[in-house]
Structures are given as C-alpha cells and as structure tokens.
Amino acid sequence: MSELVNKQQAAVALAGDTFSEQRDPHHHPPHVAHHFESAEQQFSSAKIGMWVFLATELLMFGGLFCAYSVYRHNHPEVFEFAHTFLDKNLGAINTVILIASSFTMALGVRMAQIGNRKGLTICLILTLLGGLGFMVIKSIEYRAKYEHHLWFGAGNQYSKLYNGPRPHEGPIQQHSDTPALTHGEREQAAVAHQMAATTLPTQTFGPAFIDPNAGTGDEAKIKPNQVMPVGLAPAIMAQQAAIEHGGFKDAAGHTDSHHKIAFEDLPQSEKDRVATFFNIYFLMTGLHGLHVLIGMGLITWVMIRGMAGAFGPLYYTPVDLVGLYWHLVDLIWIFLFPLLYLIH
C-alpha cells in the first residue's frame, strides 16, 4: 500500500496537481485538498459536482429535444419523409460503437480502482478508438449530406440563403409544379389534390385548414409558411408507386428501375420543408458530436495521467468522472438514433 501511495505522490507531482496551497502535511494525503477533511469527502464532493454538471448537460440537450418535439408535432409528415434521407445502417453501427465504448470505459474505471495500469490504458485506448470510429462515420454521413445539398446555410444551393445562380429543378419538379401557376396557387392546388386523394373529412381548403383557430381571437399571429404535407404530393406519390411497380419515368419518358427519389428530385417548396428536419438533425448531432470530441479530449488526458500511474484504489476520481461524462454522451446518442433515424 505504501508503495502505491508513493507512486501516487510521484504521479500527482508529475501532473502538476500539487494542491500546494495550505496543504496540511500531518494527516492529508497528497491528493486531498486542504479544505476537505478526508479523501472520502473529497471524492463524494467531486461525484456530486459531476452529477450536478451532468444535469446541466441534460437540460441543455433538453432544449434541443424540446425543439425536436415542437417541430415534429407541427410537421409530422416532414419528419417521416425527410428521415428517409438518413442512412439507418450507419446510424446503427454508430450506436453499437458507442455502446461498446461505454463498456470499455466502465471497465477502465474498474481497472483504475484495482490499480491495473496496463488494463486502464488499454481500456481507454479502446474507448478512444470507439469515439474516433463514431466521428469518422459521422463525418462520412455529413459529407454525403453536403454532397446532396442537404447541408444548412448559404453552402446549400437550394437554401434561401444561397447567393449564386439557381440550379435547375429535378424531373419531379416539372411534373408537380405547373409553371403557369404562382407558388401560392401551386400549394393550394397540391393541397386540394391531396385532400381529394385521401378522402379526408369534408373540410374545405382555406384559412381554417392552416389554422383551426382562424377567424377567432385565438388565431395564431405568426403563420408558419410550411404547413403543407411534404413528400406526399400527388406527383411524387405517383412516381414512388411507379418505382415500386417496375420503374421510374423521368420527364423525357425514360425508365430507370433503380432510381429512387433523391433530394434533388423534389420541388423547391418540399426541399424547404425537408430542410426543417435537417436543421434539427444538424443541431442535435452537431452538439452531440462536439461533446464526443470533448469526451475524447478528456479521455486522452486521463489516459496520460493513468499511464504515469496517477490512479489506484485510493484515488481514481478523474477516471470515474470522465467515465460518467462519456456514459452521458453515449446515452444522448441512444435517444438521438431512434428519434432521427427510425421515425414511423
């Protein structure tokens, strides 16, 4: 035991974590700060502090989950349609990778507790590799989104923020958007078609369709401009049916049995709606990805300290706390994956 304490002292000094101020040499181990009575008290304080911090993280992501709920509630059909542009397989692989990395992290904490320095290093390297793998796959997905113009902001040639010349519309655009009609008329016509096609109630199209409170005192002051269902416009439905029954016909009448409806094929109005989903997608996965990177940085720091022998049965607080953080990051992904990739 005393050898272990010596090692810890050396490691603590090496890591620059000296608590030089007002250290009481009589009964305080080197890693216990002067204002704590004992190592146990310090450890418990650190744990409480970390859990409280994790609560702030949850609330921070809570804002995003709340935004997700609001937009999904407002545009259920947008979410259902738009999520098909995500790659479920890559998402599932990433989920497995993160869960596995949580396991190696937990094992790492155990290794620190029993003072197995080599085991700790191996576990942390595996965890780091998990984080790295996750980020690589995520970047592959992001790249695909960028290439298909599902990206956000001015870099996306279909975005309202895009400054350059407008790209030509896809083939379905030519079917569904009659040039003679204005944008508003097209929307009305499409909604009317859909109403007829789905034989929904006898409700007529008008302000009340957009806002049930229209005409009353409770009418919304700010109208969303994207209240129309997405991905279900009759022309697109016809194309989708055509794909399922043998082949896709483009504007010139050529048949392509392997063609799937791509983002580029959608009319501009529906591209805008799909972007609503992807705005949320990028915000959620982006903030999560940032947390994965921070977690990887913390794991690297703990690993370096661990390799220097800083941790053992008497002191493994940083490993424990970084582990908690990593599990939270993992947990958030476990919610993100079904919410974004597996919508029904």
Binding site: H34, K160, A275
Partner: protein, 604 residues
C-alpha cells in the same frame, strides 16, 4: 485583542492554538495583483466579483439616467435628428437592461455575498471546488469583455462614426427576441445583413456568463451537501444558505436552457441553420418559450438569495429568533420549483392557447403563496423584537415594503384579463423594477451593510448610510410608482416618445431617477469611507450567531483553523451586550444548552 471568546473553535470544543499571527487576514495574505487574479480563496473571488459587478451596475445606471433624460420631453433630447435620437434610445434601453440583468443583478448576491459568506457560514475553509470558483469568475470577466465590446462599438460609432466588426451597439431589447435578433433575410435569398447590432457578440457574452452562473451553482450545491460542520443538519442551516441552495438549483437547471437558446440563435445567425427565423422554416415563438424557460426562473435567481439576506438581517437586527424557520426554508425550495412552471405568463399576448394561458395563470398565482409565507414570517420576526435601525435593517425594511408592492402587482399581471390590458406598458416596467430593483437591490445593499464589517473589518457610518438608503427609497418610489399609473393609462414601454398628456408622469419619473442617483452615490461614498476610514469592527458587531460572526473580522486566509461546531444560527439571546467593553459577549453555557435542543421548537 478582541474580548470575544473565540467560539470559532467550537461550542464545547477546546480552544486550540491560532496559527495566524495577529493582523494576518485574507486581505493581507499574499500581495500583488497576481495573488488576487489567480487566487483560489473564495473571499478574494467574492471581492473581485464585487469590483466587476459594481462597475457594471455603474454602467447600467448611466444608461438608466440617459434614457430617463431622453424621456423628459416627448421630443428628441440628445440629438436634433429624430432618427438618431430614437436610435440612441433603443440602444440605451437595451444595454441598460442587458447589463443590469446579466452582469449585475444575476451575479450580485450569489457571486459576491454568496461566495464570501457561504463557506464561512458553513465553518468551511473554502467552497468544494475552489478552481471552478476561479473559473466562474473568469467566465464572468469573459462575458463582460463581450458586452464591453458591444458597448465600445456603440460609443465609437456614435462619437466618430466608426464601425467595429461584429456590430456596434445593441438594439434588440435585453430579451434578444426574434425576429429582432434574427437579422434580416431579404426575399430572394439576400444574405444576412449583420447591420448595426451586436447581437452575436452579446449572445456570446450571455453564453459565457451562463457558465459563470452554472459553475457557481454547482459549487454551492456540492459545498452545502458535503461541507456542513458538526451540529449543522439541514434544518440548522442559516436561511441564507437555504436560499442560496434553492438559487443554485435554478442556476443549474435553467441556465443550460439559456445556453442552448443562445447557441441556436448563434447557429442561425452565423451559419444559417433555421430554427427561429420563419423564412428558414423556424418558429419565432419557440424562442420566447426557450428564453422565458430560463429567464423567468432567472427572476428567482435574483430574488431568492435576496430573501435569504433579508432572513438573516431581519432576525439579527430585531434581536429575535427567526419566526417560522421551517416555513421560510421550505418556501425557498417551493419558489425554486414553481419558478419552472410559470414561464408562459410572459406570452399571454403571444398567441398561446387559452388553456395554456389559464394553466400558467393559475401556476403564477401559486408563487404568491410561498412568497407571502416569507413576508408574514419576516413581519412576525420583527413583532415584539428589539429592532435596531442599522443601515442594513433600514434597507431590509425598504425591501419589505417594495417587495410587497412588486409582488402584489405581479398578481395583476398573472390575471389574464388585466394582463391583456397592461401588457407591454409601463405597468410591467414598474412591476419588475419593484421586484428587481426595489427588492433585490435593497436586499443586496442590506447584505453589503450587514457583512461589510466582516469583509473589511471596519464599520460604516450609520447616519450617512441611513440617509443614503432613505433618499434611495424616496427616489425609487418617485421613479416607479407613477409608472404604474402611466402604464394603466396606456403608456407603452420601449418608446422614445409619447403623447404630451403623459409628460407629467415622465417628468416625475425622471426626477425620481436623479434622486435615486444621489442616494446611490451617498451609499457608495458611505461604503467606501467605511472600508477605508471606518471604525474598527469587532468579530461580531451585530451580536449574531451564524458562524461567520464567530471568526475574526476580516477573516483569516482559511477562515477556521479547526472546524467549528454549529449551534442554533438564530440563538441571538446567548449574545449579550457588555457595557464595560462595548462588545457583544457570548454566554457559552446558554449557547450550549440551546445548541442541544431542537432548533425550531425552542422559543425565546
């Protein structure tokens, strides 16, 4: 040497050798600017917060004077050019609000008084995480730098017509409501025009300041859980600590939502991810929900610690055990929890459904219950007490009156029908100034006067302190009481001009604002004079029994050489005034007896 027996070393514990040479205290322990900027001592961190926060208070106050001066007449005051004058007014009220809320009033009591007093009240050497505490201070400084940039940009632009990158000035209102803060996207995909407003810099500032608040909250929760001394169960904690604990709960649960709101708005402004801008598929009302989910609880981040200060001051300066300890403690927690359920009352007129309005109205009324419980208990504490009109007590009594006004007018606003009538008028302005200035500022001053002798080891001049407090009280009521009337008659807030029939209200209000400035300068000089030239303070100038009065004034570097044992924090009767030595002296036998009994069933 002090004639006080040092119960710092514990009621019923042997007095141990004090390792500190006489005269060595936290102020003299370590010299040079670096020993302050990078200190881990909670007391020095508290004082540095005080310097920064009070400087911000001054800046916010200057803007208040400017905008009240502009409102003296319906016409433009600071420029013959109307557009320039109105534009200046928009910037002035925005920066007044943003600086006062984010830089002054949110950190005022927790970061200054909390940091200084909390560990000493617990008999601890420091907060649980001293480095995080320093980090919190530096986050505050970082946030202040961003706001300083916005401010500097505004001044340079107004004076020389220079345009700092990232905007000059801020004119969205302190709430950063979208679409004011969304920037303009022209039809046909015109890119963002960042224009004249410093929204991005200010939001970054708010984000960083949020971390400062979160870190303080994390620290206080861990410290109160883990570092309570022997003899201090949860229900033996001074009520200031209950209040700070409840505040910390709000800080850690609400502030992250402000952080994500700011991040989302930044993401929209900087890279164009649509979330609040309808043009990009966003929902501007969602911003209001997010913002008030933080900013309503933030009102309680301001008022809860103020209430904690009042509990301490009321009991001590009435020389009477606090009345209804459990009720005050529980009501702090109740307010903290209810604070999360009332944000919708800021959106009664923003297209919320009638059902949500009714629910939020009901929940808003429920906050009145714990608030009233506190007021009744403070009044009962004073009843048949031996009230001393120290400056702290004068401020606390002012608090009581002003908080009652502010709280009761809050019920007008919680009621749906009256709220629709007065929403967006000066009635709202008057209401929240009664709560945020009348209540929180006076409680903050009460706390400063109460603990000033502990902080600097010197007393303040009683006469001039009281004069300052009373002038401030008069000025405050002159300024804001007429605003209730103007508002109920339809004077809208945030307008630089008004119909002439409102001018008499505005003139009275502006004169009141100048009177407030006189009162505040009197108080500032009184405090500074006390700090430098005041009479030497004994360890316990008020005869209070919370642990900070058991350690010397000013406290030594690590507060208590040996962890003290806590008794009943409101056992004031064990401290008797000794005419011979002109000191409060502890009757140790009595204190031990009281400490052995249940704290809240013991009556005096």
């Amino acid at each position: 040497m002090s004639a006080i027996t040092p119960p710092a070393h514990g009621i019923g514990m042997p007095v141990t050798h004090d390792p500190h040479p006489p005269g060595d205290n936290y102020l003299t322990h370590g010299r040079g600017i670096m020993s302050w900027l990078f200190t881990l001592d909670h007391k020095r961190i508290g004082l540095m917060y005080m310097a920064g926060v009070l400087a911000s208070f001054f800046v916010g106050g200057v803007f208040a004077m400017l905008l009240r001066t502009e409102l003296l007449t319906p016409g433009p005051t600071f420029s013959s050019n109307k557009t320039a004058a109105w534009n200046f007014y928009n910037h002035a009220f925005t920066l007044h609000g943003a600086v006062m809320v984010f830089l002054f009033i949110i950190p005022a009591i927790p970061a200054i008084l909390g940091n200084f007093i909390l560990p000493i009240m617990l008999g601890a050497k420091d907060v649980a995480f001293p480095r995080l505490n320093l980090g919190s201070l530096w986050c505050w400084i970082g946030g202040a730098v961003f706001f300083g940039y916005v401010l500097l940009g505004g001044i340079l632009n107004a004076s020389f017509g220079w345009h700092l990158p990232g905007g000059y000035g801020l004119d969205t209102g302190w709430t950063f409501y979208t679409p004011y803060s969304s920037g303009q996207v022209g039809v046909g995909g015109t890119p963002y025009q960042h224009g004249t407003d410093g929204t991005i810099a200010a939001l970054l500032g708010v984000f960083v300041l949020g971390f400062s608040s979160i870190l303080t909250g994390v620290n206080f929760i861990a410290t109160i859980h883990m570092l309570r001394p022997k003899g201090m169960g949860w229900f033996r904690m001074p009520l200031f600590l209950w209040a700070l604990y409840a505040t910390a709960v709000i800080q850690i649960l609400a502030t992250p939502v402000l952080a994500i709101t700011g991040l989302l708005l930044l993401a929209e402004r900087i890279v164009g991810v649509g979330i609040f801008d309808p043009h990009l598929g966003g929902d501007p009302v969602l911003y209001q929900h997010f913002f008030w989910f933080y900013s309503h609880p933030a009102v309680y981040i301001m008022i809860l610690p103020a209430m904690g200060v009042i509990s301490e001051v009321m009991s001590t300066h009435s020389r009477k055990h606090i009345f209804g300890y459990n009720f005050i403690a529980y009501s702090s927690i109740a307010i903290a929890l209810l604070s999360f359920l009332v944000w919708g009352h800021h959106m009664f007129a923003t297209g919320q459904s009638p059902l949500s309005n009714a629910i939020f109205s009901l929940l808003t009324f429920s906050v009145a219950v714990p608030s009233a419980i506190k007021v009744f208990n403070w009044v009962s504490t004073m009843y048949r007490g031996d009230i001393r009109f120290s400056t702290a007590m004068v401020c606390a009594l002012s608090f009581l009156v002003l908080f009652t006004f502010g709280g009761l007018t809050g019920l007008f606003l919680g009621a749906l029908s009256t709220d629709i009538h007065v929403t967006g008028t000066y009635f709202i302005v008057a209401h929240f100034h009664y709560v945020m200035v009348g209540s929180v500022l006076f409680a903050f001053l009460a706390g400063l006067y109460h603990w000033w002798p502990k902080m600097f080891g010197r007393m303040t001049n009683l006469f001039w302190g009281n004069v300052g407090a009373i002038v401030l009280l008069i000025g405050f009521n002159l300024t804001f009481f007429v605003q209730f009337i103007a508002g109920s008659k339809g004077m809208p807030r945030r307008y630089a001009t008004y119909p002439t029939e409102f001018q008499s209200y505005h003139v009275i209000s502006t004169i009141g604002a100048y009177v407030m400035a006189v009162g505040l300068f009197t108080i500032a000089f009184n405090l500074l004079h006390g700090m430098i030239k005041g009479k030497r303070a004994p360890a316990n100038p008020w005869g209070a029994n919370t642990l900070e009065w058991h350690c010397p004034s000013p406290p030594p570097h690590d507060n208590f050489p040996v962890e003290p044992v806590a008794g009943d924090p409101y056992d004031l009767k064990s401290w008797q005034w000794d005419e011979a030595t002109q000191q409060w002296v502890l009757d140790e036998e009595r204190a031990k007896t009281v400490a052995g009994t249940e704290p809240t069933t013991h009556h005096h």
